[in-house]
């Protein structure tokens, strides 16, 4: 009945932002925005995408998942395996090219595996790299693997009617377990070394990082825009009413004849997949992924962004993720000048968590509906 008015506004702002960054980029514009900062902005858009998923699952469906960054990481590992394989293989081929006898495919494959896995003392392809030589399969798995994990985990949890804080703890356990599993050298994903060199796109060696960075920025903006439209459409219909009903009174929805578990599972899995896509766009810009990325704290940050931005508003999640993660980059990236108090100096790298915590308390006290709620406040004021 009601269409979401925020969609055209959001898309317009996103498009204007993308255009502005392009015009100031090194590749296509004045160069006011450096390549590395272009990457930071592109990565921020990916985090906004993950926050959008978090808002769907928490803000709309009421499931406080503290494990959605696991799906983000799985997406990153998915694309990372293809990037590393293809890139290393190209290097190996170049090295073997001047041999008298041309190398066989098996030799190339063995040499590539040795190159990738010698750092953890391995020389064979682990089973989970089976699809890494195909870009198409890798792209499919980026969505399927997080989706499957979310489906199985969600099915087990929701079927037993685990809700509230207990579910949050379980999701924390899930992401912790996955992170510890990936830390092991035997797992086959290079343990704590993770996957690196992901910024080098195979087949695009001749194209500089200046252009690649802006392409990934565009892709991230497009993914965010499309998901925003899709999510707004999803929650504006009857499905949205039911899901918000589940958030507010799950038992009531059951007595209306809806299988609450099926709806929760649907939202949980869908948002897991969105996080997978976000991660697959993020890590080629970050250049490296390791198991630390999916430590429990990462998923908690995701919830903090959505809480600060405002739950149950799609733009709130995006605003929260953008503001907090950019501030975090500013304060922990060594850009913020330290404050010298004589005996004692405030070094922002250490003090950022304090600032974030303070901000969180202030938002909770003075803007309970988050930064997105403030937008509502001013928009509504304009109209009357």
């Amino acid at each position: 009945m009601t269409r979401n008015r925020s969609v055209p506004i959001f898309i317009a702002i996103l498009a204007a932002f993308a255009l502005g960054v392009t015009v100031m980029s090194e590749a296509y514009g004045t160069g006011a925005i450096s390549v590395s900062f272009t990457k930071v902005l592109g990565m921020t858009l990916c985090l906004c995408l993950a926050a959008l998923a978090m808002d769907l699952v928490w803000g709309y469906c009421g499931i406080l998942s503290l494990g959605h960054f696991a799906f983000f990481g799985l997406g990153g590992y998915g694309i990372g395996m293809w990037l590393m394989t293809a890139r290393t293989e190209a290097v190996v081929r170049a090295n073997l090219a001047n041999q008298v006898i041309p190398p066989t495919e098996a030799e190339v494959s063995d040499a590539t595996a040795l190159q990738i896995f010698s750092v953890v003392g391995g020389e064979d392809w682990p089973w989970m790299w089976a699809a890494s030589d195909s870009l198409f399969l890798s792209l499919v798995l980026i969505v399927l693997v997080p989706g499957l994990l979310a489906l199985v985990f969600g099915w087990l949890a929701f079927r037993s009617r685990v809700t509230g804080v207990y579910l949050s703890i379980l999701t924390q356990a899930m992401t912790l377990a996955l992170s510890l599993y990936l830390f092991q050298n035997d797992t086959g994903l290079r343990g704590n070394n993770g996957l690196s060199g992901l910024q080098n796109i195979p087949g695009a060696e001749a194209i500089g990082q200046d252009r690649i960075s802006i392409w990934f920025f565009w892709a991230s903006a497009a993914a965010l825009g499309l998901t925003y439209i899709g999510a707004a459409w999803l929650v504006s219909g009857k499905f949205g009413n039911i899901v918000r009903g589940i958030r507010d009174d799950e038992q009531r929805v059951r007595f209306l004849g809806y299988k609450v578990e099926a709806y929760k599972l649907f939202v949980f899995t869908l948002t897991g997949m969105i996080c997978g896509i976000a991660g697959a766009l993020y890590y080629p810009q970050a250049g490296i992924i390791n198991p630390d990325e999916i430590a429990p704290i990462a998923s908690i940050y995701l919830a903090v962004w959505v809480a600060i931005g405002g739950r149950g508003r799609l733009y709130g999640a995006v605003i929260g993720a953008a503001v907090v993660s950019l501030l975090s980059t500013y304060f922990t990236g060594g850009r913020a000048p330290d404050i010298n108090l004589g005996l004692f100096a405030i070094e922002w790298v250490d003090w950022w968590p304090v600032l974030l915590g303070l901000g969180f308390v202030l938002v909770t006290l003075f803007a309970p509906k988050g930064l997105g709620g403030l937008v509502d406040y001013f928009v509504r004021k304009d109209r009357t």
Binding site: K238, F239, F255, G257, Y258
Partner: protein, 246 residues
């Protein structure tokens, strides 16, 4: 006369407290029935068992012509079978409009995919308009349910029950918080519904029950104490003891 719902010998114990004790109950289609009883008599627990929220320790709950057991079904499945429930405290989706509340309740396929692609048809529109007229909320359709008065929320929940179009309606204290005029309206509505549905009304208010003018079941300490017309049960010694004694 075949029975729609047949409950036989159910018992349920919470932490040693026997909330329902060997209770049997039967209702046919169509029928209007009132359940009365003092606090703690097991009225709400009885409804919880029928709707699948609570599982009894023993006994059977059979449904429909085929007498299929409801005990293995989930709340959602039981609701889909055609049992609708109105809660004692009005429970509507406060954060949504009256129109949306009714739309969600409307009898349509209940799966996630059907919900995603659900379109409001002309039939739906008419149905919602009819129900809104019935419950007197026609000009409140676009208001948030949270700003309705207590009585209006009661009405909205009754409207949601109508929208579900169940065979059996379990109505817990429908008249609480209503003006005498609204009570009158509720009585007429319930009586009319009972011409084509099975309706069970739980109520404390004897005056209201008298106006319903139907068969009454008196519950006490988890079992049926007496059953019959209101005048009949009010003459029953044990009922008098329970209500007036002590």
């Amino acid at each position: 006369m075949s029975s729609l719902l047949e409950v036989q010998g159910i018992s349920v114990t919470f932490d040693g407290f026997k909330a329902i004790n060997d209770l049997s109950f039967e209702i046919s289609l169509p029928e209007l029935r009132a359940i009365i009883g003092p606090n703690g008599a097991g009225k709400t627990t009885f409804m919880d068992i029928v709707t699948g929220k609570t599982r009894p320790d023993e006994g059977t709950v059979r449904w429909g012509d085929l007498g299929r057991s409801l005990l293995t079904k989930s709340e959602a499945q039981i609701a889909q079978e055609g049992i609708g429930r109105k809660f004692q405290r009005p429970t509507v989706f406060e954060d949504q409009t009256v129109w949306d509340n009714l739309r969600v309740a409307l009898k349509k396929p209940r799966g996630p995919v059907s919900a995603i692609f659900d379109r409001v048809t002309e039939t739906d529109r008419t149905r919602i308009a009819d129900i809104a007229a019935e419950i007197g909320l026609t000009d409140r359709l676009s208001d948030m349910a949270s700003i309705l008065s207590h009585g209006q929320k009661q009405w909205l929940e009754i409207g949601m029950l109508l929208a579900q179009d169940p065979k059996l309606l379990l109505v817990d204290e429908p008249a609480a918080g209503m003006t005498s005029e609204e009570r009158e309206h509720t009585t007429t509505l319930l009586k009319r519904l009972a011409e084509t549905h099975a309706v069970v009304v739980v109520e404390h208010d004897m005056e209201f029950v008298r106006r319903l003018d139907c068969r009454v079941t008196v519950l006490h300490e988890g079992s049926v104490l007496a059953e019959g017309s209101l005048d009949h049960v009010m003459k029953d010694e044990r009922v008098i003891d329970v209500y007036l004694g002590r």
